[in-house]
């Protein structure tokens, strides 16, 4: 990574971490995670399942909200505040700017996810007073959630490179929702015929496949997650995120910033 990209990434990280909205979301997520044992006490026999489901869902939802709303403002805010021009007047390419912003926010999300994961394990320890091998399995689900974030950040950046913040948020949110139904869309393609089948197949490969990244329910029941799935999901997230960044780059490099 070039020093210019690193500098932009670091500044983006610092800027987003300082953001009050971000702190509020993290605080709320942590609060929910620590409240989980209380929810567990009012249910019967599913305390651990409930804690895992609730905590991981909270990590996923709040991280997604951060990815979308901070992601879409990365470029638009710089244009609005006119801070983009002094950056681009230096020997910094538009591509480096976009890539730097991407890595900066990804770093923020990594720290946030790690903090929330720590909160989860703390809550789990308070509840069970012990860690088992099954609890380590939860880390895979958290890792998949982070992979989900790096895809969503890429999409938010892509949409913000050509659209207004409001529409970018709508587009990114729609892609997120569609992505959670990607598996259903492929099943739908299996049972349909004709042009709808091909349309469903094409759409299912174009939208992000978030179905296979969601293993929350499976780890809550201590189901085995194949190692191959971990490797392929990692590859997939990297490919998809890189594709979105490239598309954002292509659009942003042609955008008239005057």
């Amino acid at each position: 990574m070039s020093s210019r990209i690193r500098a932009i990434a670091f500044n983006t990280f610092r800027e987003t971490v300082r953001d009050r909205v971000l702190y509020n979301l993290v605080f709320f997520a942590l609060l929910l995670v620590t409240m989980a044992p209380l929810f567990g006490q009012i249910s019967i026999g599913v305390q651990r399942v409930l804690l895992v489901n609730l905590s991981l869902s909270a990590i996923s939802i709040f991280g997604t909200v951060i990815s979308i709303f901070v992601g879409i403002s990365l470029v638009s805010k710089e244009i609005e505040k006119r801070t983009l021009y002094p950056v681009l007047s230096r020997p910094v390419g538009r591509g480096e700017f976009i890539v730097g912003k991407y890595f900066g926010l990804s770093g923020t999300l990594l720290v946030n996810t790690a903090a929330m994961a720590l909160g989860f394990y703390l809550a789990l320890f308070l509840m069970t007073r012990d860690f088992t091998r099954a609890d380590a399995n939860v880390l895979i689900a958290i890792y998949f959630i982070f992979l989900e974030f790096i895809i969503i950040i890429g999409l938010a950046l892509l949409f913000s490179s050509f659209s207004t913040p409001l529409f970018s948020a709508l587009f990114a949110l729609s892609m997120f929702i569609a992505g959670t139904f990607a598996g259903d869309l492929r099943t739908f393609a299996e049972i349909t015929h004709g042009p709808q089948k091909w349309l469903a197949i094409a759409t299912s490969y174009l939208i992000p496949n978030l179905t296979s990244l969601n293993v929350i329910t499976r780890v809550s029941h201590d189901q085995f997650i194949p190692r191959a799935l971990v490797a392929y999901n990692t590859l997939y997230a990297m490919f998809y995120a890189a594709a979105t960044i490239c598309a954002a780059l292509l659009i942003f490099s042609r955008r008239d910033l005057k």
Binding site: I191, Y205, N209, S212, L229, Y232, Y236, S253
Partner: protein
């Protein structure tokens, strides 16, 4: 310089997209053993209804799509278990109690024996009774209930009563009354079953329902023809002291004019023990006679 950067970015975009495409195909293969599809995280229909924040109609439609996909996926794999089907249907019909299609089709999914369905007559009856309670003026639901009581439970008296009740609903189809009478006179006969399926075939505007009725009619033909063919084989055995080796032998002996074909145009299979079956039993999932013979 800028052009080169654009070409480079476009190439990387294409490579990454292709990479994601092929990786996704690998993921599908690695993730095949997803055994969590029968897990229903929220099983309380009332909770789901409250959580829908007033958008229960929309949520019911989404749940109905899930039911169809769940059933379709399991059906494609010839699954013998449909654990989440009844709870999913319960949630769907609680969210929208007037979604008649969910009661009609849902009870069919539940009623048909595995692998064509869940084979749970009681759950099917409970669902359709819920439908009648919520839509007392829809005669189709009485018909479906009577149908399950007749073919699934073989409770002809209850079926006659249901058909009779249904016939009193405004705008009910006249043959509900006929069915009520047939249930009391000759419910166990094949003619009654044929009459029922023929009516469904003639009256239905839904292609899937029509196909299903046509399949049942074809299975009834098979159920009727197999004993006739086996009687011919028995007669041959009585005359020659052995089973015929082929249909040709039966034709030469004058028992048959040509090789007998099933309703799909495939020749019936003559087994060495003299029993007769269809070439592909999967194509006739509702036949009774041939299956029981093969399991003997």
């Amino acid at each position: 310089m800028r052009r080169r950067a654009t070409v480079f970015s476009a190439c990387v975009l294409l490579i990454c997209f292709l990479g994601s495409f092929f990786t996704l195909r690998r993921i599908e293969r690695a993730n095949l053993s997803n055994s969590m599809e029968d897990v229903l995280f929220i099983s309380s229909p009332q909770f789901v209804k409250r959580a829908s924040l007033g958008y229960s109609g929309l949520l019911a439609d989404i749940y109905w799509m899930r039911v169809v996909q769940y059933f379709g996926r399991k059906h494609l794999r010839d699954s013998m278990e449909y654990k989440a089907l009844a709870p999913l249907l319960d949630i769907t019909t609680t969210l929208d109690p007037n979604l008649v299609v969910a009661y009609e089709w849902g009870s069919t999914f539940l009623d048909q024996p595995p692998p064509s369905g869940a084979g749970d007559d009681d759950a099917a009856i409970a669902l359709i009774r819920k439908g009648i309670q919520n839509n007392p003026n829809d005669w189709h639901l009485y018909f479906t209930l009577g149908f399950i009581q007749y073919l699934g439970k073989h409770d002809y008296l209850a079926a006659a009563q249901t058909f009779e009740e249904g016939s009193r609903v405004p705008n009910a189809h006249p043959w509900l009354k006929i069915m009520a009478a047939k249930m009391l006179s000759d419910a166990g006969s094949m003619d009654t079953a044929r009459y029922l399926w023929q009516n469904i075939y003639d009256e239905s505007t839904d292609n899937n329902l029509k196909q299903n009725a046509a399949l049942h009619l074809a299975c009834l033909v098979v159920d009727q023809e197999i004993p006739q063919l086996e009687a011919l084989v028995a007669e041959f055995r009585r005359r020659f002291g052995r089973n015929p080796a082929s249909w040709k032998e039966l034709a030469v002996a004058g028992a048959l004019k040509s090789i007998p074909l099933d309703p799909l145009g495939e020749p019936y299979v003559l087994r060495s023990d003299g029993s007769v079956t269809v070439a592909d039993e999967k194509k006739f999932p509702f036949i009774r006679i041939s299956k029981s013979a093969s399991s003997d």
